[in-house]
């Protein structure tokens, strides 16, 4: 599409427009009022509301469909136009009772209210008619009130084509149409994934968060038997809407005094959704999305939209705890910090600074991670500082740093959306990165994007994929290398790209000798036909993005497989252009940022090596201390060092290592060996049970800071509440402790910490809180002038000579516990709960949807062992034993099992079974390489997954809302054919072109 600019005339005045824009878009950009209820910038044209009619060169036309053309003359104010708009709005108000003052949606942002008001409507042409359906209150988080529903179809559009869950439709065939879920079942029993898209886009109060109902307004809590006659009476006596709106506006303005709206960034996965959180005192009323949000717009998932109850949970730690004998005793901050300072000093003095390990949190902010590594290095004198990327993404970072130079996604969501071909290897974004997955699903459904999924499990993206490949566990690298070799053998590589921009081709070529397609067929179990089909798809695609996650990185050969992905992208020339690149999907909200800001043993902030003297000199000048020279221990080293008695103390924050580290039996026994253990958390976690001192920390809603998402995008979040009880923000705790250990820190606000980091780390030179106000964001590297870099490597790669490197990598045979352990154990997250669930299990509605953990077994295995849903089995690996109830599903095949990690119960947690084997380069545990044997404990029982879970729903895929069916109804008269407009001929204009 060209972007040529020209002018158009609206009401006799000239306005600038760009080719491809629609009239309504130009009008809105120029602040010329044209009504429009169904149109939404994130959804586009829906054509159901008919309120946006304007006159274009003498013809009445929907301004949301008609594209602008040079010299076009548009009239938005004539009598004919007003009549058409009035007719359309009256049809809407026939479906929607205006009782704004007593409506919970009267918060200044109700599309219907504002449109009626802006149109200056005094009365409606047709009286309101209730629909013959009761409200649907079955879902735990939102309700549908048909009587208020104007059938604009925004919710359907959002569900079908933006979230692409395909649950909602409008049934235009019944006498009184309504929105239905699946095949018209109660919402709670449908395929609804509770993402909140439909509620987020509803232009009125038909779909509303239950947390708002009766709660948002001053008068909305009135009992229905008073409210109904009040509404009747108001309607009876009202002279016109203007006077009524005056009252409702006053009420809406009053609400602003008590409902606080604060921008925040989601604290679950690495996608980095941002939105407002609306609160009344400490009560969270709702999450309100904004089109301005750079990553997600109006999109959310169940956790980001509804999973915030943990903040006010009664289980929150509110006082420091000190171990005394067999119990923890509440203490003051002074006692706790003194005890920590005393013990850490003593251990440092007796055993040296490296006898203490520091484990940082990828749930906490960039500023907190920066300060923690400053504390470990600058105050305590050790590089023994690591974060939980060690459990997930370090191999991906290594693969990228080896080949292209920077350990982050090559582009942004824009690139993933723009890609011709998206290949997802060992990742389940539809559950683990839901909003990112929506963009892939949308591009695939609407814009012809091709999708390949390589996975053991047939997850949602796999179901939708053009090609789903199921290789044998741990053999992805063979497939990747074989394809790269085939491209080179056939002469299909991007030769000029390799010539100009890449080093190491010859050595790489010779390393591929054994990786013929035949070898790949033999080792991966894929067919030649499948491999050739994948080759063909890559060859035909103008741009390829490869996305991967734990299915790649939690293996013994993880760094090498990540490298192989990047190699393949280099061979095919898929870097540095829109729609191309490598996308390791970061799991936590701030995995990227924790690594970026220096909580890694070999790296100072911005990936500047600690063993580089000039780097250390820079920090010495700033901090006034000598920094330790040698890279420190990573998490895995630390556990080993504790086990060997070399490490005596550990300080850990925002991380439940006792559950998330592999081989937890071993980790637990190691913790028991520590002389001193400090755990800082919001909750009394499993890890905290081993601590000597537990410090109560504050979550993101109780502090300011920034997170960096998987795109490398830095975004600000703002404090909503004061910290609960005596809990404190992590950065403040570090500062208070550092000052007891001789520091003289005086940070008043996290922005000052960011200023310091930006001054020191080249990668963030131009980052400041001023540049990150509200919805602004920066994608690193950020130059001093504030220029950021959404797409990397457009001109050069991040090596001194600007060239990428092809790095030879070989297959590492996965860990095999032996023939006794005959079932392969896969594991991972699920949509509803985050990780082991310590945050999400505080939300009743989420627990209603997923109360328990379950084991997925294939229909073949179920038949073989005579198992059915609900049967209880015991799984035993060489390292431990768990007992879980099964669900039979064809998402898993043959002898492969899937055990989600949403449990903190010792007897169910998957890490009771995993080993201490790890990626040979980064020490990331090989969680995905385990075999187990199964014994049946109970042949039947209550299925662990309730039938009202979305996995049992029945999706109804369609494109948009099928407005044509509305137009074909016998009771539908096109606006241009109504009596008031009949005199002239204005033409039928449902289609713009």
């Amino acid at each position: 599409m060209s972007n040529s600019k020209f002018t158009i005339e609206i009401n006799g005045k000239e306005y600038n427009a760009v080719e491809g824009q629609r009239i309504l878009e130009v009008a809105r950009a120029e602040e010329v009022f044209v009504p429009g209820v169904c149109y939404h910038p994130d959804l586009g044209t829906i054509q159901t509301c008919d309120t946006c009619y304007v006159m274009v060169d003498g013809q009445l036309t929907r301004s949301c469909t008609m594209k602008v053309a040079p010299g076009m003359k548009i009239d938005t104010v004539s009598d004919q136009v007003k009549k058409a708009q009035y007719e359309a709005m009256s049809r809407i108000l026939k479906n929607h009772e205006l009782y704004c003052t007593v409506c919970d949606n009267n918060n200044g942002n109700c599309t219907i209210h504002n449109t009626v008001e802006d149109m200056g409507l005094a009365h409606q042409k047709y009286p309101f008619e209730a629909k013959p359906y009761p409200p649907d209150n079955s879902h735990p988080f939102y309700r549908y009130e048909p009587d208020q529903c104007i059938l604009c179809g925004r919710c359907v559009e959002a569900c079908q084509d933006l979230q692409v869950n395909e649950t909602l439709t409008i049934d235009w065939s019944r006498e009184v149409p309504r929105v239905i879920w699946d095949n018209d079942v109660p919402i709670d029993q449908s395929s609804c994934v509770s993402c909140g898209h439909c509620v987020n886009v509803c232009p009125c109060n038909a779909l509303m968060e239950k947390s708002m109902l009766g709660n948002a307004g001053f008068l909305t809590g009135i009992a229905p038997n008073i409210l109904a006659p009040m509404i009747d009476m108001t309607k009876e006596v009202e002279p016109g809407y203007r006077e009524i709106f005056a009252v409702s506006e006053v009420e809406a303005a009053m609400r602003k005094a008590r409902i606080k709206r604060t921008k925040t960034v989601c604290t679950y996965c690495g996608v980095g959704c941002s939105f407002e959180v609306w609160t009344k005192d400490r009560e969270i009323l709702k999450i309100q999305t904004k089109t301005e949000a750079p990553v997600n717009g109006i999109s959310t998932c169940v956790k980001g939209k509804f999973g915030w109850d943990y903040v006010n949970s009664e289980e929150r730690l509110t006082k420091p705890l000190i171990r005394k004998g067999e119990e923890f005793v509440e203490a003051t901050w002074d006692e706790a910090l003194s005890l920590i300072a005393e013990n850490l000093s003593k251990i440092k003095e007796e055993h040296g600074p490296d006898a203490i390990g520091y484990i940082a949190s990828s749930k906490c902010s960039n500023e907190e991670n920066f300060l923690f590594q400053k504390f470990a290095r600058g105050i305590m004198g050790t590089n023994n500082v690591d974060n939980c990327s060690r459990y997930c993404q370090s191999p991906a970072t290594t693969g990228l740093m080896r080949t292209v130079g920077l350990g982050g996604d090559s582009g942004t969501m824009e690139d993933i959306m723009a890609s011709d071909l998206v290949i997802v290897v060992g990742a389940n974004p539809a559950e683990s990165h839901p909003v990112l997955a929506t963009r892939i699903k949308r591009a695939h459904k609407l814009h012809g994007q091709k999708l390949v999924v390589v996975d053991l499990r047939e997850n949602e993206l796999a179901e939708r994929a053009d090609l789903f490949l199921h290789p044998k566990p741990g053999t992805d690298i063979i497939m990747l290398n074989a394809i790269a070799k085939y491209f080179l053998d056939q002469g299909w590589e991007d030769a000029s790209f390799l010539q100009e921009r890449v080093n190491g081709l010859e050595e790489y070529k010779s390393s591929l000798k054994k990786f013929s397609l035949e070898y790949a067929v033999e080792k991966t179990g894929l067919t030649m036909e499948q491999l050739l089909r994948l080759v063909k798809m890559i060859k035909e695609a103008k741009s390829v993005s490869i996305l991967w996650a734990m299915g790649v990185t939690q293996h013994m050969g993880a760094s090498d497989t990540s490298t192989a992905i990047s190699n393949l992208l280099l061979v095919t020339g898929n870097y540095g252009r829109t729609g191309t690149g490598a996308y390791p999907l970061r799991g936590h909200n701030n995995v990227q940022g924790a690594c970026d800001f220096g909580t890694l043993p070999p790296w100072m902030p911005g990936y500047e090596p600690v063993n580089d003297e000039t780097v250390r000199a820079k920090y010495k000048a700033a901090w006034g201390v000598d920094l330790p020279e040698n890279p420190g221990y990573d998490n895995h080293h630390m556990v080993e060092a504790i086990s060997k008695g070399k490490m005596k103390a550990l300080y850990l924050f925002g991380e439940d290592m006792a559950i998330v580290d592999a081989n937890s039996n071993y980790v637990h026994s190691t913790f028991e060996k520590l002389d001193f253990f400090v755990v800082q958390d919001m909750f009394f976690s499993k890890t905290a049970q081993f601590a000597d001192v537990v410090l109560p920390a504050a979550p993101s809603l109780e502090k300011d800071g920034t997170f960096t998402n998987t795109e490398r995008r830095i975004q600000r979040f703002y404090k909503v509440f004061e910290p609960l009880g005596d809990s404190k923000p992590d950065w403040l705790i570090f500062q208070e402790l550092a000052n007891r250990l001789g520091a003289d820190w005086n940070y008043q606000h996290p922005s000052e910490i960011m200023d310091e980091a930006a001054k020191l780390a080249n990668l963030f030179a131009g980052v400041s809180y001023q540049r990150l106000e509200e919805w602004e964001s920066l994608v690193w590297p950020v130059k001093a002038d504030g220029t950021d870099t959404p797409l990397l490597y457009t001109e050069k790669f991040a090596f001194p000579d600007g060239k990428a490197r092809l790095v030879p990598v070989d297959w590492t045979i996965p860990f095999d516990p032996g023939a006794d352990f005959d079932l392969h154990l896969n594991n991972g997250r699920i949509l509803e709960h985050f990780h082991e669930g310590n945050m999400t299990n505080k939300t009743e509605g989420i627990v209603h949807k997923v109360p328990d953990v379950w084991l997925e077994i294939s229909p073949e295995l179920a038949a073989e062992r005579s198992l059915e849903d609900g049967a209880l089995v015991g799984l035993t690996s060489p390292y431990g034993h768990v007992e879980v109830r099964v669900i039979v599903t064809d998402r898993v095949k043959g002898h492969e099992l899937y055990l989600p990690m949403n449990t903190a119960d010792d007897n169910e947690a998957v890490n009771r079974l995993t080993s201490s084997y790890h990626d040979i380069i980064t020490h990331t545990p090989a969680y995905k390489e385990m075999g187990v044997k199964m014994v049946v404990l109970e042949l039947s029982g209550v299925p662990p997954l309730p039938k009202h879970n979305h996995r049992y729903g029945n999706r109804i895929p369609q494109i948009s809302v099928k407005v044509e069916e509305k137009w074909q109804r016998s009771d539908y008269t096109p606006i241009s054919e109504i009596d008031d407009l009949k005199e002239g001929f204005y033409g039928e204009s449902d289609q713009a072109n």
Binding site: I222, M233, E236, V237, E326, K673, K686, F690
Partner: protein, 165 residues
């Protein structure tokens, strides 16, 4: 050597301590706002004597039932009419031009003054004399205005009839 433990001994403050602290906070607030509190008590005494609290308390306790009754009473055609007439009157006043109204009211004031003088003096005038006075510009101006007024009113009546038909 630290085994995992789950036992937390929380310093649960007993009821007496909590009450003591609450009482202390209340006393402090009272002392800080002595004058305001004393005048409030004075006012409360008067209100109590008038049984305001008793009445309001009963109303509040039964607010739902009372609300229903109130709405039943209020949601009646007569009340609708009062409110609608209220709106109508408001619109009528809003529609008037202040300058016109001023002229009109000046006229009415002066007219009333003359009228009262006539009333006080009680002197009747002959028809002839009155006929001669009809010629005066002042009377003619008033008559023309009255006819115009009637014409306007008639027009509104007719429009309203048309609308009904």
């Amino acid at each position: 050597m630290a085994k995992a433990i789950r036992l937390i001994s929380r310093q649960v403050r007993n009821e007496t301590e909590e009450r003591a602290q609450a009482a202390e906070e209340i006393l402090k607030s009272l002392a800080d706002n002595k004058d305001a509190v004393l005048s409030m008590i004075e006012m409360a005494k008067e209100l109590h004597e008038m049984k305001v609290f008793e009445t309001a308390g009963a109303l509040l306790k039964q607010r739902n039932e009372v609300g229903v009754i109130a709405m039943q009473q209020v949601n009646q055609p007569a009340v609708h009419n009062v409110i609608k007439s209220g709106f109508g009157l408001f619109q009528f006043l809003g529609g008037l031009q202040p300058a016109q109204l001023e002229t009109l009211l000046n006229g009415v004031t002066l007219g009333l003054k003359r009228m009262s003088q006539t009333g006080e003096q009680g002197k009747k005038q002959s028809l002839w004399k009155m006929r001669i006075r009809l010629r005066s510009p002042a009377i003619r101006a008033a008559m023309t205005t009255m006819v115009d007024f009637m014409e306007g009113m008639g027009e509104a009546f007719l429009r309203s009839r048309e609308k009904r038909e």
